[in-house]
């Protein structure tokens, strides 16, 4: 050949071709094997996932009365990029909103976390069946729209709003925390407070999913593998509460026009029978499209109906706390049942004075409870603090504090309601900080003996104290749950928590509390034919009139109910709290209020003790 000197150039050309193919194979390795994002992108292209929301679990009371159930509602979902030709005006007319509302809704939708133009986004939540019908009929006018079936809560009783709680759109924090099971997406609903929040995971059920194939023009082309990968939704688990809804409703009526709380516990099981926070509101106010509007009204109410008083309000327990000191002092052998202290209308040391009301003197332990003698406990408490066997007052106070804590004070009890408060029991370090180490004396902290001073307790803790006394020495953590479908309730709600006080010392206190009702401060509120043991209290309140407190349990033998009632700014415990408490107990134990006490019931119902 003439120009065969160039024959070797065939290799150059072949090498060029080979290298191009190799580069392309390298690119394919990167696209198909290394980079996994394309798979996701392809899925989000082709799959339209429609969520099927499960029905939420039903909530019943202890007598199987349905408290909370579900009703259907419909959310308007849109896939924004498919909204070409969306008939906005007709849409607004159909769901009764203005064009401005619509624009606001769209803006809100765009600003939501996790917004995407390619996936269904929540435009308008919770349409009722009528609006749904109107929209569905003309759905051809609204490309990119579909209606998502949801369930909303419906309530059979206008009671127990705070303990039941409500559901609302999940917040940013919930979304952020939802890292383990990735259950929520923006726009979902979840329990916001009460048992709806505590038992969210049981109540919510499991979401289902239908996967549709969507072509490049957004048209649905059938289901993926004819529905092979679809998932049915699983309804949430039903919940039975320990609440007696009739008792709860009665309590709320008794507390109407008053600020305060009632906590009633079955001492033998720790089950909460009623948990009244007053003022209260109808739980159905916080359902549906009116939710945020009503929520604003409740938030701005000066009486704070959203404040869960039995769980969160911390009061000085006042004289109800004398029972605690009676127990601790006996256990520490500072006093015995027969120890007597004198009282001269109060406790006097030099110019220091703690007042007391008129009664005979001296009195023994049982009588001191019966008559709620301040001097007795001041003296007893100081005897303990100054006792040589503890070496110094710090040690003595720590011993005292540990006993008190073992009775359920100073820490959260661990009830199944969110936002429970721990109250407050100081330790010796607190006084070291206030007065200086070793520079505080028993007299300076003597108010603790009568439930004033630094200590604070929630109504639930005081009710729990009544339950502990009723059980003669132990309590079970108060709880609202009785049964959960498909699983045991938490074991902590089954175990006894035994206090550091011997059972025998409780008998003395029980006797004293019995006398309170028979011939003491609570006499006026006694119940015929049921032996009630009670203790009045009056918590001094720097902000206004004293709070009226009462704790009790009944019957004396084999107690069925322990209760604490707090009526804020209403004066003596015997005046308001005690009658309300015994009416509650009678209603629970007998089921009715006998004639003799109807006037009392009337008086309680009609009393208006709201701050003027």
């Amino acid at each position: 050949m003439t120009n065969d000197i160039y024959a070797n150039r065939r290799f150059v050309i072949a090498a060029l071709m080979l290298s191009v193919v190799l580069i392309y194979i390298a690119r394919l390795i990167n696209l198909q094997l290394v980079d996994q994002t394309y798979q996701d992108k392809a899925d989000s292209n082709a799959y339209l996932r429609k969520v099927q929301f499960p029905a939420r679990g039903i909530i019943r009371d202890r007598n199987d009365k349905v408290l909370v159930f579900n009703k259907l509602s419909y959310d308007v979902m849109v896939v924004p990029r498919e909204m070409n030709g969306f008939d906005t005006l007709e849409f607004c007319r159909s769901v009764n909103i203005t064009k401005k509302d619509f624009i606001d809704k769209v803006r809100e939708m765009r600003n939501r976390v996790g917004y995407s133009r390619y996936t269904p986004q929540l435009l308008i939540a919770q349409l009722d069946a009528h609006d749904y019908g109107v929209l569905q009929e003309k759905s051809f006018l609204y490309p990119g729209m579909y209606l998502q079936k949801r369930t909303l809560r419906e309530y059979n009783y206008p009671n127990a709003a705070l303990l039941l709680g409500s559901i609302g759109e999940v917040g940013r924090n919930t979304l952020k925390a939802d890292t383990i099971d990735h259950f929520y997406v923006p726009g979902d609903y979840a329990g916001q407070n009460g048992v709806e929040l505590t038992y969210e995971k049981d109540l919510r059920g499991e979401k289902g999913e239908e996967i549709f194939l969507r072509d490049a023009h957004g048209r649905i082309q059938g289901k993926l593998e004819d529905g092979l990968y679809d998932k049915e939704s699983k309804p949430g688990k039903d919940l039975q509460l320990s609440i007696d809804i009739d008792l709860q409703a009665y309590g709320e009526r008794l507390m109407q026009n008053k600020v305060g709380s009632i906590a009633a516990i079955d001492p033998s099981t720790g089950e909460i029978l009623a948990l009244v926070s007053s003022p209260t509101y109808d739980p159905s106010l916080l359902v549906g499209r009116k939710r945020s509007e009503n929520y604003d009204i409740l938030v701005n109410d000066p009486l704070k109906p959203l404040f869960d008083r039995p769980m969160m309000a911390c009061y000085p327990p006042g004289s109800t706390f004398k029972t605690v000191n009676a127990l601790v002092l006996q256990q520490e052998k500072i006093i015995s049942q027969w120890t007597a202290f004198p009282c001269s209308e109060g406790y006097h040391v030099g110019s220091f004075k703690v007042g007391c009301h008129a009664h005979f003197s001296p009195l023994n332990l049982i009588q001191s409870i019966q008559h709620s003698c301040n001097a007795y406990y001041c003296a007893g408490f100081r005897n303990m603090m100054d006792n040589r066997k503890y070496k110094n007052i710090s040690n003595a106070f720590e011993v005292w504090k540990n006993h008190v804590v073992s009775l359920g004070f100073g820490y959260k009890l661990g009830a199944d309601v969110p936002n429970e408060k721990r109250g407050y029991i100081p330790n010796s370090g607190v006084y070291d900080r206030i007065y200086g180490e070793g520079r505080w004396k028993s007299l300076m902290i003597v108010s603790n003996s009568i439930g004033q001073g630094e200590i604070l307790a929630t109504p639930l803790q005081i009710a729990n104290l009544a339950a502990t006394i009723a059980n003669r020495g132990y309590y079970i953590v108060p709880h609202l749950v009785k049964k959960i479908e498909g699983r045991e309730i938490d074991s902590c709600y089954l175990q006894k928590k035994v206090s550091t006080i011997d059972s025998i010392y409780f008998e003395t206190v029980v006797e004293g509390m019995d006398l309170v009702m028979k011939n003491g401060t609570g006499w006026a509120a006694r119940i015929d034919s049921i032996e009630v043991c009670g203790k009045t209290g009056t918590a001094q309140n720097p902000h206004g009139e004293d709070h009226s407190l009462f704790m009790a349990f009944a019957p004396k033998k084999d107690p069925k109910i322990a209760i604490c009632v707090v009526v804020e700014n209403s004066g003596f415990g015997a005046t308001w709290a005690a009658p309300i408490a015994t009416l509650m107990m009678e209603k629970y134990l007998k089921g009715y209020i006998p004639k003799r006490r109807l006037y009392l019931e009337e008086r309680m119902l009609n009393a208006n003790l709201l701050p003027k």
Binding site: V12, L16, M17, V21, A42
Partner: protein
């Protein structure tokens, strides 16, 4: 001599025919997968493209068989006539063709429409082979290389006028043939350099060197750097003048270093581009001096090279601006300057998603979601490779690439075994054209080259392109079968 018929069957390269059949069949299945919808029509249904493609394939096989039966000398004899006829047809098309999707490349004859550009390739290859195999042809003689260039450029220009820039670009691959037949490799290098300078000028043409002087762009600076490096290399390779090369490189580096230090220490906005100009002019002066001193013409060319690079770079912008807007965006998307998966980058983005989601073994035949749901536009024509990538995964895509590579290498082997120069040149033409289509088509589908609408041989839907490639290939197979008969 035994009867010619037996001779052909025996001498025919069945391996190539095997690859051809395999690719065509795979192509048909890909088209079926791409067009397949949820309504299940029978595969021969002529209202669907897979049905029609079946007809085109049948015709292609008939055409191939006919071509094999013709006398191989015929192709040599008719080369110029065919070429002239083709040029006329291309010219005619410009005026009579209706506008379809912005181009005038389809001749409509009753129910049939054909794309003459697809057949012009074959005619051009034949004419080129014939001209270059004339006795006494030498590519270095001006009269010859100008004629050679004309043969390539004439159909190119006509096709550009049909608004089919992509098809026109295909002819540039014939440079490979010229290279094989003795064209100085430097031209291939310069062509490559031209593309690089063009890309750099576009890509970095608006990236500021230093914020103080917004008019100075990296584009020109990089081009000048490349020019200086190439000049030094040329000085060493062609002039064996290491001294001048060191002086040039050393001086340029020192100049830029001084500029850099002044800018960093004093913050004075140094006009780096002027330093570049100085270096290039310096190189020109140096070469001029050497030219006079050594009396070697090469020096002058090397000196001019630097100036030419600057000139080309400054013209690149204007050339780019003269492109159609959609062509500009396609280039920008490939260079990563524009990233809008919704608009300009939609095709490529979707095709990369389709291929990327295929994984190792793919989603299975007819199971590609992106394919079935029509996410990739032009999926049965220019973007057909997506279907392979999505439904048959990395394995399928690599297999197709490998088969094409095998075909190309096979064609080169066949070309090299020709005794006739005409056949060899024609063989290289065939290989180059297949290569260019493979390079551009698959490159654009996987996002490495700009979107240039040319089909993937044997895969893309369309009668004209399938027949065009079949004719191109089978003429060569016919020539190859007769390689023992005639001497060219």
């Amino acid at each position: 001599m035994p009867s010619r018929r037996i001779n052909i069957v025996k001498n025919l390269d069945w391996v190539t025919i095997g690859i051809y059949l395999f690719l065509v069949i795979m192509g048909w299945f890909s088209i079926y997968g791409a067009v397949y919808n949820f309504e299940e029509a029978p595969f021969w249904d002529l209202s669907f493209r897979y049905g029609k493609q079946l007809v085109w394939i049948g015709c292609a096989l008939v055409i191939g068989a006919v071509l094999l039966m013709l006398d191989s000398r015929l192709y040599n004899m008719l080369a110029y006539a065919l070429f002239a006829a083709m040029l006329f047809l291309l010219l005619l098309t410009i005026f009579v063709a209706p506008e379809i999707k912005g181009s005038r490349s389809w001749l409509v004859l009753g129910p049939v429409s054909i794309q003459p550009a697809e057949f012009a390739k074959t005619a051009t290859c034949l004419a080129l082979a014939k001209f270059m195999s004339e006795p006494g042809y030498s590519i270095s003689r001006p009269r010859h290389w100008i004629m050679t260039a004309l043969i390539i450029l004439m159909p190119m220009i006509l096709i550009v006028f049909q608004q089919e820039t992509g098809s026109a670009l295909v002819y540039s691959c014939l440079l490979l043939v010229l290279y094989r037949e003795g064209m100085n490799g430097i031209f291939l290098f310069l062509g490559f350099l031209l593309v690089v300078i063009f890309i750099v000028s576009i890509r970095f043409g608006s990236v500021c060197v230093i914020p103080e002087l917004p008019d100075e762009s990296y584009g020109l600076l990089i081009v000048m750097g490349i020019a200086l490096i190439v000049q030094c290399a040329f000085l060493v390779i062609f002039m064996r003048d290491k001294k001048s090369a060191s002086i040039l490189m050393g001086a340029s580096i020192v100049l830029f270093l001084i500029g850099y230090i002044v800018y960093k220490t004093f913050g004075y906005p140094v006009p780096f581009t002027y330093i570049g100009y100085a270096a290039i002019i310096g190189s020109f002066v140096l070469c001029l001096v050497m030219r006079i001193k050594e009396r070697m013409r090469g020096y002058l060319l090397i000196g001019l090279f630097g100036l030419a690079c600057i000139g080309i770079s400054s013209m690149a912008d204007k050339a780019f601006d003269s492109l159609m807007p959609h062509q500009q965006t396609r280039i920008k998307v490939t260079l990563g300057m524009e990233n809008d998966p919704k608009k300009a980058g939609y095709n490529v983005n979707q095709s990369m998603i389709a291929i990327g989601s295929g994984g190792l073994v793919g989603k299975g035949f007819l199971n590609g979601t992106q394919t079935k749901l029509k996410y990739v536009p032009e999926q049965d024509t220019d973007f057909i490779f997506c279907t392979v990538g999505e439904e048959h995964g990395f394995i399928g895509a690599t297999l197709v690439l490998g088969l094409f590579l095998f075909l190309l290498i096979r064609l080169i082997m066949l070309a090299e075994r020709q005794r006739s120069l005409f056949s060899r040149i024609y063989g290289y033409c065939v290989a180059s054209i297949f290569f260019f289509h493979l390079f551009i088509n698959i490159g654009m589908v996987i996002g490495l080259t700009p979107v240039i609408g040319i089909p993937l041989p044997f895969f893309s839907y369309g009668g004209s392109s399938l027949w065009g490639f079949t004719i191109l290939l089978f003429i060569f197979l016919r020539l190859d079968a007769s390689r023992m008969e005639y001497f060219g």
